[in-house]
Amino acid sequence: MYVDRGRELSIMVFLGGLGMVLAVFAPEFYNAKNASDILVNISYITIAAIGMTAVILTAQIDISIGAILAACSTVAGLSAKAGVPIPLVFLYAIATGAAIGLVNGLLVAYARIPSIIVTLGTLTVIRGVIILLTGGTWIYDLPANFRAVGTGTTFGLPNPVWLMLLTLLIGAFVLSHTRWGRSLYAVGSNPAAARLAGINVERTYISVFVLAGALVGLATMAFATRFTTVQSNTGQGFEFLVITAVVVGGTNIFGGSGTVFGSFLGALLVGVTGTALTFLHVSAYWEQALQGLFILLAVALDAARRRGALEGSWVRRLLRRSA
């Protein structure tokens, strides 16, 4: 099992640099409220990114999660309005995500269709089904006990942050310390060798898609609950955010290496750059371009590091010192 800690260091160095710029030009960035806002904003991205990490570790990809988020939010919103007890609401959402993930997984594992195409197809179908079922209308007036889950705090920390930290801890443990978690790295590195080693490769593929779907369902607890409505087009572009967090966080897009903690750092980078630009008084219209540029810089820096292009340079020395 190969874990690339260097990427995590690259991101920390990058975040450190950004932090220094902020300390000089926008010291008001540093306050507890802002830090907590950033963590709340990335919580649902991180939770979904844990599932996506598992998927990408096996050298697959799931671009249907934006549509799954919409499906789970719709199910959660409708059942909460119908008076279903809150724990059951989220159980429904998680089950919805897992069921869609199962379809993705079966198509990838047994029909042998590349996952990017399977999930491109299912994303189209899911969005269609949602609009067909809801008639394209938004779900308004979500009940207070539903919204309390996402807007409330426990021991001073917002609930979504607790949920994120808990999922992160469990995810990190499962990926690095269980037989199933380690089999993901094996399948992603070399599926044929993994098969010879006695791993059921098909079942592994199915399991990661089910997990990804279920975690998107869980993410609705930190997402749909924070707003007063569920919009019919909710979650558009969510897949890009989550995949960005995972690959910026060092998970190899070709499978076999990566960590859950890296994905969290990736999500943090996305969240911090967005907020930092606001504090630096950059026009909101330029935000997306700069954010994309930062992400590209972080990835390019790491690609150069891995090729040894930075050997002997100051960046390299900095990375080594912090290691």
């Binding site: 269709i113 990017i116 399977v118 491109l120 994303l123 269609g128 690959v247 997306q288 371009a289 690609a303």
Partner: protein
């Protein structure tokens, strides 16, 4: 599988036959749904609507054959439209502005190609990042305003007809012929297939892999830039959110056309058939008053069934 270096003899006829069959079934079915469907003018209307995605799909065909992907084309469409609108509003001649819009697209593609080959970052990640950057630039340059008031002569590019034929269809057919011939008959085209089959072997056989890849991505950007100009002429306004999500439409057309997402196979004819199938289904269902969301379900299902069929055929051929 070892015969993959001769893609014309093995992979293409089957997937294209499946598509032609699908297209015939779709046309017959749509005709039974709506009497307005089977007419020449409606056929041309379909081609008018699908031209922009078609242009992007042409570039995407090359990209996917090399085993890569270009997720940034939708954003390039938006950025080149905005560039053109911005320059025209600033007082530049409309045709010069349009040319610079297309050039912006080519530049975007060139940047993708350089990042992929020089920085060694996988295409999926590079174009995921530039998807955000190019869209962000369009948003930043326009400050979310739209640019309009174009001269009639320019609007004819997207809304004019020559007889019954929409103007942009000539452009699409011409470019499809060009790309098709280059892909199937030129050294460059062979290089594209060779890289998709095995980049390492291609490099050792003397294929200038990096140079070919930069050209392929530049072409993809250029065609998306052209699509941006045509789109602006068709809807007579340039907006920063133009073309969001169209990258997935282009990929759908290419994959429906029988290209393998792993690289090494695919053809322009297949892509055009895939494009037409999606266009026919959408148009026919619209004429039959079937709402867009049901169309989405049907198109998603068609994509999955087509790929499944291709997969079955490929496995059968592999066994024989």
């Amino acid at each position: 599988m070892s015969l993959k270096s001769r893609p014309r003899t093995l992979n293409i006829p089957w997937s294209e036959l499946v598509l032609v069959l699908g297209l015939v079934i779709a046309v017959l079915y749509m005709n039974s749904l709506s009497p307005a469907f089977l007419s020449l003018s409606n056929f041309f209307e379909i081609t008018r609507i699908v031209t922009e995605v078609g242009l992007m799909a042409l570039g995407m065909t090359l990209v996917i054959i090399t085993g890569g992907i270009d997720l940034s084309v939708g954003s390039v469409l938006g950025l080149s439209g905005i560039t053109m609108g911005f320059l025209y509003t600033a007082g530049l001649n409309i045709w010069l502005a349009a040319l610079l819009g297309v050039a912006t697209g080519a530049l975007c593609g060139w940047i993708n190609g350089q990042l992929i080959t020089r920085a060694g970052i996988p295409p999926l990640i590079v174009t995921l990042a530039t998807l955000a950057i190019f869209r962000g630039l369009a948003l930043g340059i326009s400050q979310a305003h739209s640019f309009g008031n174009y001269p009639k002569a320019f609007l004819a590019l997207g809304a004019g007809y020559l007889g019954p034929v929409p103007n942009q269809l000539f452009l699409l057919v011409l470019l499809a012929l060009g790309v098709g011939v280059v892909l199937a008959r030129s050294t460059f085209g062979r290089f594209v297939y060779a890289i998709g089959n095995n980049p390492t072997a291609a490099r050792f056989s003397g294929v200038p892999v990096n140079r070919v890849l930069v050209w392929v991505y530049t072409l993809s950007g250029l065609l998306a830039g052209l699509a941006g100009v045509i789109f602006t002429a068709r809807v007579s306004s340039a907006r920063s959110d133009a073309g969001i999500g169209t990258e997935l439409d282009a990929i759908t057309a290419v994959v429906l056309g029988g290209a393998s997402i792993a690289g090494g196979s695919g053809s322009v004819v297949g892509t055009l058939l895939g494009l037409l199938l999606v266009g026919v289904v959408r148009n026919g269902l619209t004429l039959a008053f079937i709402p867009a969301e049901q169309q989405a379900i049907i198109i998603g299902a068609i994509l999955l069934v087509a790929v499944l069929l291709n997969q079955v055929i490929r496995l059968r051929l592999g066994r024989n």
